[in-house]
Amino acid sequence: MKTHYDVGIAGYGVYIPTYRLPTTEIARIWKGGGAGPNKEKAVACIDEDSATMAVEAARRAMDMAQVSKLGAIFVGTESKPYAVKPTSTVVAQALGQHFVLAADMEFACKAATEALQVVRGLVGSGMIENGLAIGVDTAQGRPGDDLEYTTGSGAAAYVLSRSNPDTLATVEAGVSYVTDTGDFWRRQTEKYPRHLSRFTGEPAYFHHVETSVKQLFETYGLKANDFTYAVFHQPNPRFPVEVAYRLGFKFEQIKTGLLNPIIGNTYAASSPMGLAAVLDEAKPGERVLVASFGSGAGSDAFSIKITASIDEKRKKAVKVSDLISKNIKIDYATYAKFRGKISR
């Protein structure tokens, strides 16, 4: 997928809620034993949802980008506050941006990279000057289910603009791959998603991520050694490490963007937030691979090259590491209250 004009990242912003649920708490209530695969997960407060977190991440991205007008706002999420009423218009109103194409994207955990592809296309065609793509979720896991250990909350936002001396990175290549695969789903009126346990691995996550990355390599003549960093979707701590090794990457390349062990799977925000952690420390000239995965199923893969503007732009960044370290631990009862599992 090539664009007529080069497209760059003008600004990025991340939001991680303050509260953390240690997975030992989930084990204490349901299954016993020690912690889950990830140590903790980020939990949205009772007054937070995908709209509030999207706005916070978007404000940070806009603060860094310093662009006055947006042409598009896309919010990728599977935890929309309304079944019918867009989250993107809440973001548009909160940013004071009204002459925009605004819509919500839905594709499980890859909804945000879908949004990035679409904004990249609009900017790259010359149709708009700047666009905003957001990935956000207050991921839900059925109480007691394996998913409950890993489902976290968070948001990541990117302002894309036509490449110019102020863009901090160039999105130099991108591919998308999809098949009809029923590894994970939620029917219209259901509160929690369902999944096919081990089926979510080989035919779903691994097949789609490996295929999209290999397609990116083949189309653009790239290989694992060309990248200083790689970020893969992180449904749990193991899958991204395993897929990295299969594709020829070393742990050194993925460790910076690997956030699942400390905040859980933030679904649509997962790989975009890993990219933000990389942008917090990458140097000019370095290349980053980003590969998402969304159940249903598909994967978007991008090659992103850091520019000389990164150091100046980063002065405005609220670093992912700072957002992770500033937290308040909660117990299962507080988590149940915050996420509407109990009410009076």
Partner: protein, 130 residues
């Protein structure tokens, strides 16, 4: 439904802290006024308030108005924004024992209230310590 419509009219106030600035004496006001309280001028323009300030005073509510019970105990503070404007708002993501008068705060975007599981959700500003 009545609240939905009145809230909609004021959304820029709640979402972006839009107040007014007097073009004569340069004073700023939130919520917006139609006549400047300092010089009486009617020459007022919309102005987004600064999102940072400090706590002048605060209290903890163990009993709240109907519709806010799930947020108890609720911290309410009077915040002096960096332009001098004083504003009443909820303080979140902390407990009363961690708060002090003079603490720096910033405005954040949060849910204020929702009308059950089928009604509308109302968003607006609250404050967190920085």
């Amino acid at each position: 439904m009545k609240l939905s419509i009145s809230y909609w009219r004021l959304k820029d106030r709640y979402y972006r802290l839009v107040g007014v600035r007097c073009e004569e004496c340069k004073n700023e006001f939130f919520p917006p006024v139609y006549v400047c309280r300092r010089c009486g001028s009617r020459s007022l323009t919309d102005k987004e308030m600064p999102k940072t300030g400090k706590i002048l005073t605060y209290t903890e509510l163990k009993e709240t108005l109907a519709g806010f019970e799930d947020q108890e105990p609720m911290l309410l503070g009077i915040i002096q924004l960096d332009n001098g404007v004083r504003i009443l708002g909820q303080i979140v993501d902390t407990a009363a024992e961690n708060l002090s008068i003079g603490d720096r705060v910033k405005a954040v975007f949060r849910k204020i209230q929702e009308h059950g599981s089928s009604g509308q959700i109302f968003y607006g500003y609250k404050f967190v310590r920085t």
